[in-house]
Each structure stands twice: as C-alpha cells, then as structure tokens.
C-alpha cells in the first residue's frame, strides 16, 4: 500500500547527487541468511552500511540545522564535519573490502522494526 510514490512532487536532475545511488528495499534480513558464511557476511555488511548511510544523512541534516541556527561554535562545526568525512571514508573502505558497489547497498529497514 506504499503511498510513497505519490509523495514525489518534483524531481529534476541527477538525483544520485542527493542520495547515494539506487537501493532496494529487499527482504527482511533473516530471509537472506544462507548456509554460505561468505554470503551471510556480505549480507551483514550490506545491511550495516546501508543503515549507517541513512543515519549519516539524517544526522548531517540535523547538524546543518544547528549550524544554520547558529547554535554550534566553530570548533564543533569542524569536529562534526571531520566525523562525517571520516564516516564517509570508512564506508568507502568497507564497501571496497566487501567488493560492494553503491548499487549493491540495500536499504533494509527491518531493524528499525525489530527494535520495537
């Protein structure tokens, strides 16, 4: 019943510049687990990276709001920026380690539900 398709009013240009490229909302994680340990590991890495990317985007937005409001001092801005930079670098490293391309990242919101 996803009504999300109706929520896009205007989309223009290369949207990949707004988000990391295409993700799939795939099966809830447990159904991906197979007997092959490599597959499991890779699946876990995909999940971790996708969630971390989502959180990074949301936290960056929060930090930008604070920056606009003027409630962050210069030192805090520098530290936040460095942390987000490091996080992005680390994600690139992890993706390389697992041979994942941006295309391979699944956005799986299963854990958001599991935690309830």
């Amino acid at each position: 019943m996803s009504s999300l398709d109706e929520k896009l009013l205007v989309a223009s240009g290369d949207l990949a510049r707004l988000e990391r490229p295409v993700r799939e909302i795939g099966d809830v994680f447990p159904r991906r687990v197979s007997a092959d340990p490599e597959t499991v590991e890779r699946g876990l890495a995909q999940l971790v990276l996708t969630l971390v990317e989502l959180l990074r985007q949301l936290m960056e937005r929060q930090a930008l709001r604070r920056m606009d409001e003027g409630t962050l001092d210069d030192d805090e801005i520098e530290r936040l920026g460095r942390t987000f930079m490091k996080l992005a670098e680390r994600m690139d490293e992890l993706k390389a380690e697992f041979g994942l391309r941006d295309d391979d990242l699944n956005l799986d919101l299963g854990p958001l539900g599991k935690l309830m």
């Binding site: 996803s2 949207l15 988000e19 295409v22 936290m59 805090e76 935690l115």
Partner: protein, 71 residues
C-alpha cells in the same frame, strides 16, 4: 490502528529519496511528549529522540562493523 504495509519492492532512486524524507520527519520532527534523548557525534550533542529505539542496535552495528573490518 492496523500497522501500515510498506511495499518492499521499492527499487528506484525516486522512491529512495521519498523514503529518506519520510524517515527524516518521523525521527526528527513531530510532537515530543516524553522529552528528548541526546545522541552525540564527535562529542557534539545532536538531539535525536527517535533514535532511542535505534540505539539498541548501535551496539549491534558496531559489532557487525567490527566483524566486517576484521574479515
């Protein structure tokens, strides 16, 4: 209220973009009754009450990331 169903075959970037906008609002906006919980990034407090339920997974994410790095 019955739980809403999310169609789990969303594949396009457009739908991805919309989903981020939805989740951003759900976690980061709206009326707060129970008070705010602070999440720190680099020792800077970012108020993020919605992540209260995600924080339980932060330990799991750390463990999984560590396993991935060690692989």
């Amino acid at each position: 209220m019955a739980a809403a169903q999310l169609r789990r075959d969303v594949t396009t970037l457009e739908e991805q973009v919309t989903l981020v906008d939805l989740v951003d609002r759900v976690l980061n906006a709206g009326v707060v009754i129970s008070g705010d919980i602070t999440l720190s990034v680099a020792d800077v407090d970012l108020v993020y009450v919605g992540l209260r339920v995600l924080l339980a997974s932060a330990g799991t994410l750390d463990r999984l990331a560590a396993e991935a790095a060690a692989a």
